[in-house]
Symmetry: C2
């Protein structure tokens, strides 16, 4: 399936778009793209040849990374929906990972496009729990669960003239 | 601390030394090196600038990867100790990850050398559970737990003339 619309990660503010897994501004990163499909979220990613574990199979650390960023992306998009806000509107709703669990069900073949499908298990103001499954050739090869939390204001990039910190404080006056 | 001795990963057979996280033959990978320090295992790794999450902090997916490969390396070394065998002796004891859990305790600063310290929680013939903690500037920033299982013979690289499959079958006659 192709997506004409922008991905969740395309709405991350520039200063929060450098993540190795999903930052569109990280030229060396994976730059994954996640979309809604009904109530599920979907990411497609084709590992590079060096992303190997045992030859022929995908490196488990990469699968953990994909699940991680798929999860924080899903958390962000779900948080906008939860608040009835347009995705990408200010102040930003950017999530970071509090915990990550991955169960490797079977070896994941290298050389094919992987599909990661996610569902929101639980959503609160500052916390979203996401379940995700990795599919290769239509078969589930790994299952993950991430607990994502709204990025604490203290992590906002401390760059002179940076607008995010201000937007953040405006959004969360109690946390400043 | 510097280590004159070879790392656990240096003993992996060539055909199992291509892992993106710890394979010494993966020119594009992390090539982590793990050592015993008493009953603990230790890996040091300095993330690259692109291994960022939010600017200034290390990407959580990389931390998961380091914990993963530190865990399988520890499992391998512990399995040799458990059998009273010299590390690297044939047939190889190579472990893969069945499950991985990471709790991110606080943001991990980018730009410093990280220390991952591991301990074996449980060891059986075909399964080793490892706990690992990531330290930055002496402070614990992430905790992980991996369940590592002896690599199934079915994952052995199927290369003509490849000795590993044979060694594996010899070691585990019931699994062939």
């Amino acid at each position: 399936m192709t997506h004409d619309a922008a991905a969740f990660q395309d709405f991350y503010p520039d200063d929060l778009a450098h993540c190795y897994g999903c930052g569109r501004l990280n030229a060396n990163g994976h730059r994954i793209k996640t979309y809604w499909e009904g109530d599920e979220t979907v990411t497609h990613f084709t590992p590079r040849p060096e992303h190997t574990a045992i030859p022929g199979y995908v490196y488990g650390g990469l699968l953990a990374s994909l699940i991680d960023c798929h999860g924080t992306g899903t958390a962000s998009a779900a948080a906008y929906r939860f608040r009835d806000r347009e995705i990408g509107s200010e102040p930003p709703l950017r999530f970071v990972t509090a915990s990550l669990q991955v169960d490797y069900l079977k070896p994941t073949p290298l050389g094919v496009s992987l599909e990661i499908r996610g569902r929101v298990e639980e959503i609160k103001e500052k916390k979203v729990v996401v379940n995700a499954t990795v599919f290769a050739n239509g078969e589930a090869t790994a299952k993950g669960r991430i607990v994502a939390v709204l990025m604490p204001e203290s992590m906002a990039p401390k760059v002179p003239g940076h607008g995010l910190r201000k937007a953040w404080k405006a959004a969360r006056p109690g946390s400043a």
